[in-house]
Symmetry: C3
Subunit: 154 residues, 3 copies
Amino acid sequence: MSAVEDRLSELGLTVPEVVPPVAAYVPVLREGDLVFTSGQLPMVDGSLAATGKVGAQVDAETAKSLAETCALNAIAAIKSEVGDLDTVSRVVKVVGFVASDPGFTGQPGVINGASELLVKAFGDKGIHARSAVGVSALPLDAPVEVEVIVSVAR
Amino acid sequence: MSAVEDRLSELGLTVPEVVPPVAAYVPVLREGDLVFTSGQLPMVDGSLAATGKVGAQVDAETAKSLAETCALNAIAAIKSEVGDLDTVSRVVKVVGFVASDPGFTGQPGVINGASELLVKAFGDKGIHARSAVGVSALPLDAPVEVEVIVSVAR
Amino acid sequence: MSAVEDRLSELGLTVPEVVPPVAAYVPVLREGDLVFTSGQLPMVDGSLAATGKVGAQVDAETAKSLAETCALNAIAAIKSEVGDLDTVSRVVKVVGFVASDPGFTGQPGVINGASELLVKAFGDKGIHARSAVGVSALPLDAPVEVEVIVSVAR
């Protein structure tokens, strides 16, 4: 088991099965040294862990936890491509989309759920550049969607 | 004519002229092995094929067709950069933005219009990673915007 | 001082201090020849220059000026990574997010504030691919957020 998975295990987390795409694409793709995940939804055992807009039906704390789930699914997608997660040399970029009531502006705190998990899992290699935005709606009424780019050792 | 264009032709489609940017940028740019398109709107002969929000003024089926038009415009932009579309080694990443009524959560089905065309055009090399999100508004009141990253043979 | 900073100086602009991230990430990251900024908000001296939605509390002209501020902050982030801004070989990609009233569809004009500054600063090397979208809300109620990818000489 990789050191990354050891660290997740200490948090009580295991890398899940890859979430099958909800449409005509693949969950992850490697191009050269970069690995791009598709946008990951907070799916657990094949269903969304919650639905609705953050700031309305979903509160910020719950949404932060859902962003962590998105990141865990991203790690699963990356593992399916690279095999050994310890070959990830850097988490490069995260984009976090938060389905937001127009009055909700706490997207950074929500997406921290993803960012903090990536740092816990990958250590210093997990620190990344990031954008967080509030969108009007997400697939299947998911509250959060997270995509990740990582690099792998040359 | 490239094999890619042959396949499009069998679908009754031709690669259009590149859509001029609506502002201060270029429609496509190559950096190393990667080619990045700008966000493509569903322009046909210089005008938007439709306007409005999906789930309100525009239905999902129409929006899927508009996403196909966005992808065709992306292919035009890529062709203007690479010349021969058969030099595309992989469609890497698609981001699809759907101008969505807050109650509309069928973004994956809409963006399939783009994803499926890319697979029809490029074959196995057309299968990509993807994010689809619902946004509050798009340029010129376009219902859909699609950006694409492809790689070209080294 | 770099030629880039000379050009900004002629516009009465100086590269500010890097804006500290509002959450668990870094403002900029280099991976190979590419430098990715995080999403930049229109912060001036530690505070947002304005808040609200474009098309409602914020007008398009003000928003364009805010997008310029975002781009200036992106330049600051890039400088903190590369040192000499003249080593930037190309501005590759800009994504501009505009917190938009659903009826506001002038995102391209707003994000021109960023695009035009990048061209003024970097000259021909500043011309880039771009997407501009209208989102429902942005961090801290910022009206605009801009992320930038540049390449550096090999």
